[in-house]
């Protein structure tokens, strides 16, 4: 096993290493060994990591009798720990985090949580319904701009703007969803990508409404109201959630509510309909699942969650700009969903933290961290395509019965 892996590794190393020489280190006529060495360092490190992971995995697989992946066993082991214990521990950790962290760490935490809630929302579209969406960040933008504009022009508070943002997000979801209903697979991907870009460009070009590339500034932070009995009278006093810990708790609540919502959806009739659509749309339609309606619903609900996150983001920064909603952001959210394990809520939570916090930790390494990020992403997919914590249900579904005995390696002959 190890020998085989080593051989494979040698081929890998040959292909990438020899070939990357001209790219890594040569400029015109000069060769810069210093620069090259650093890049090579990252490269070699990743190869070694790849090798270790594969060897460990291979070793375990050899011990295992049949095709059962080792992740399944890890999962089982995890599930043997009382759930309450795990969840309670995590909740406690999340709750006390701001007490032991400084502002920067809290800020990173907030960003992670924003992305987690985005990932959970996209999970509905990609994970549950199986629709590849590359323009998801557009709904995030819709939420952010809805709150910003309502707050700046009409002074609408965060809580009042939130439902409006959600409704608008859902409407946009349907608008984007509708023309894509007939499409499948990669066509869907490009259309959603196109929509995402269109939304950003409209925000950037519609100067009279959105202030164009200048962005909007000065939105109020979310408020809490508490009763005041001063001067004998009764009135509500607004308390602005300005401090980072307060914002942290707010987004934490949003994430918890999102998790609860997604879980309930997952286990509902709708959730089953989505899964049916994901596994085989034609079959789902034939067995009476209203696919059109369910797909639109998936888009709308996914958009609603993103819209909430967007409103929070705008309120937190008190600033928004079309450049915050680039295609790359959609990619990052998609990475969170897939890396975490499509359809798996704990996976997405972990992936959200890993993808946002870890690059932040290594920010000092500047661009080398992005180099490693890309490589690790590829290797991660090659080694563990089902994600960090694969969804148990999806696994069961994928392995219990296979509807297409001729599937093998290709899509054509299905």
């Amino acid at each position: 096993m190890v020998r085989q892996e080593l051989q494979k590794l040698a081929v890998y190393a040959f292909f990438l290493a020899i070939l990357l020489i001209p790219m890594l280190g040569f400029r015109s006529a000069s060769f810069e060994p210093d620069r090259a060495l650093k890049i090579w360092g990252v490269f070699v490190g990743i190869l070694i990591l790849n090798f270790i992971v594969k060897a460990v995995r291979g070793g375990r697989a050899a011990v295992e009798a049949h095709k059962e992946p080792w992740t399944e066993r890890t999962r089982e082991r995890i599930s043997r720990i009382p759930r309450l214990y795990t969840i309670g521990g995590l909740a406690l950790l999340a709750a006390v985090y701001p007490l032991m962290a400084n502002n920067y760490m809290i800020d990173v935490g907030i960003t992670c949580l924003i992305y987690v809630s985005l990932g959970l929302g996209l999970n509905i579209v990609v994970g549950l319904c199986g629709l590849l969406d590359l323009g998801y960040i557009a709904f995030y933008a819709v939420g952010a701009y809805t709150y910003s504009l309502l707050n700046l022009t009409f002074g609408v508070s965060f809580w009042a703007a939130l439902p409006m943002g959600v409704v608008l997000g859902m409407v946009c979801g349907c608008i984007i969803g509708y023309p894509t209903l007939k499409m499948r697979g990669d066509y869907l991907a490009i259309v959603t990508l196109g929509f995402g870009e269109i939304v950003r460009l409209v925000l950037n070009n519609w100067d009279s409404l959105t202030a164009g590339p200048n962005g909007l500034f000065g939105m109020k932070r979310p408020t809490l109201y508490y009763p005041s009995f001063a001067d004998g009278g009764f009135s509500w006093v607004a308390y602005y959630l300005k401090s980072l810990p307060a914002l942290y708790y707010l987004i934490l609540i949003i994430v918890v509510l999102t998790i609860v919502g997604v879980r309930r959806l997952d286990n509902s009739r709708i959730g089953r309909a989505w899964i049916a659509i994901r596994e085989d749309e034609t079959a789902a339609e034939l067995s009476g699942v209203p696919t059109t309606w369910n797909k639109l619903l998936a888009y709308a609900l996914g958009a609603a969650f993103a819209s909430v996150a967007g409103a929070f983001f705008a309120a937190k920064l008190s600033y928004t700009n079309p450049n915050f909603f680039l295609f790359m952001e959609s990619c990052i959210v998609l990475c969170i969903v897939v890396l975490g394990g499509v359809g798996s809520i704990p996976g997405i939570v972990v992936a959200g933290f890993v993808l946002i916090a870890v690059p932040e930790i290594f920010r000092g390494l500047e661009n080398y961290r992005m180099l490693a990020f890309g490589a690790i992403m590829t290797i991660m997919m090659v080694v563990k395509p089902e994600g960090l914590i694969p969804a148990s249900r999806r696994k069961r579904e994928l392995h219990a019965t296979d509807p297409h005995p001729h599937e093998e390696s290709d899509g054509r002959d299905r």
Partner: protein, 241 residues
């Protein structure tokens, strides 16, 4: 079973899985050179899987497959094809955006002897004259029967020693089926061994010398085809009598 000639294909205790599904549960069979053998059985018995396993498309997990005495169970489909095994799979699998002519050409992909290929092309055209008429037409636009003929013709273009045929009669008019089976006999007379998988058991057993009956991943009956035609069990289950 009386095996007189030496066998061209031998399967010994072959097991195949689709993920967790145990599709072939220990198949053993042996096909003599120059024979027409057929495999009959109900839907989902594993007939097509047997052919795909021989071709290496759905590799065997366990067991041995020997072609002319040489083990081929570890070979990839393209290598199996290189040994002289051609398959006309279920559903014809014509290349839809290639012309009839190009489809036939693809059949001879591995052959370098241009003159012989041209000869075989003429032979295929003589077997199925309609293909000559349709030579410039895209494969996807042919009728079902024409596609079946094209699929068989394409397999013949590799001048195979062993031709695996999966349901050549599926979805075709009875008259056409008769013609195709007649052609199969003609092909066999030219020296190609044929291993046939059929639902149309009557037809298949009629032209075959050896027959195998499959049930849920196992071969349950092996005999001369003529004997199987008389077998009460077979009559009841597969011949609709």
């Amino acid at each position: 079973m009386a095996v007189t000639a030496k066998s061209i294909l031998e399967l010994t205790d072959v097991h195949t899985y689709y993920d967790n599904i145990h599709a072939l549960k220990g198949i053993s069979l042996s096909i003599p050179e120059g024979d027409i053998a057929c495999l009959i059985g109900a839907n989902g018995a594993g007939k097509s899987t047997t052919l795909l396993t021989i071709s290496g498309v759905q590799p065997a997990e366990k067991g041995e497959i020997r072609f002319r005495g040489e083990p081929i169970q570890h070979l990839r489909p393209e290598q199996v094809a290189g040994k002289g095994v051609a398959q006309t799979p279920e559903g014809r699998q014509i290349f839809p955006r290639m012309t009839t002519f190009e489809n036939l050409e693809m059949g001879a992909f591995l052959r370098k002897d241009k003159a012989a290929v041209a000869e075989d092309l003429e032979w295929v055209f003589s077997l199925f004259p309609v293909l000559k008429e349709r030579a410039g037409q895209l494969g996807g636009t042919l009728s079902g029967g024409e596609q079946q003929m094209l699929a068989i013709g394409r397999s013949l273009m590799s001048r195979p020693a062993l031709l695996l045929l999966d349901e050549p009669s599926l979805g075709l008019a009875p008259k056409l089926v008769e013609r195709i089976f007649k052609t199969l006999l003609e092909i066999n007379q030219k020296g190609t061994t044929i291993f046939l998988v059929e639902q149309n058991a009557h037809m298949a057993l009629n032209i075959s010398r050896t027959g195998y009956v499959m049930e849920t991943g196992r071969i349950v009956l092996t005999d001369r085809a003529s004997a199987l035609l008389e077998n009460e069990q077979v009559k009841k289950a597969y011949l609709g009598e």
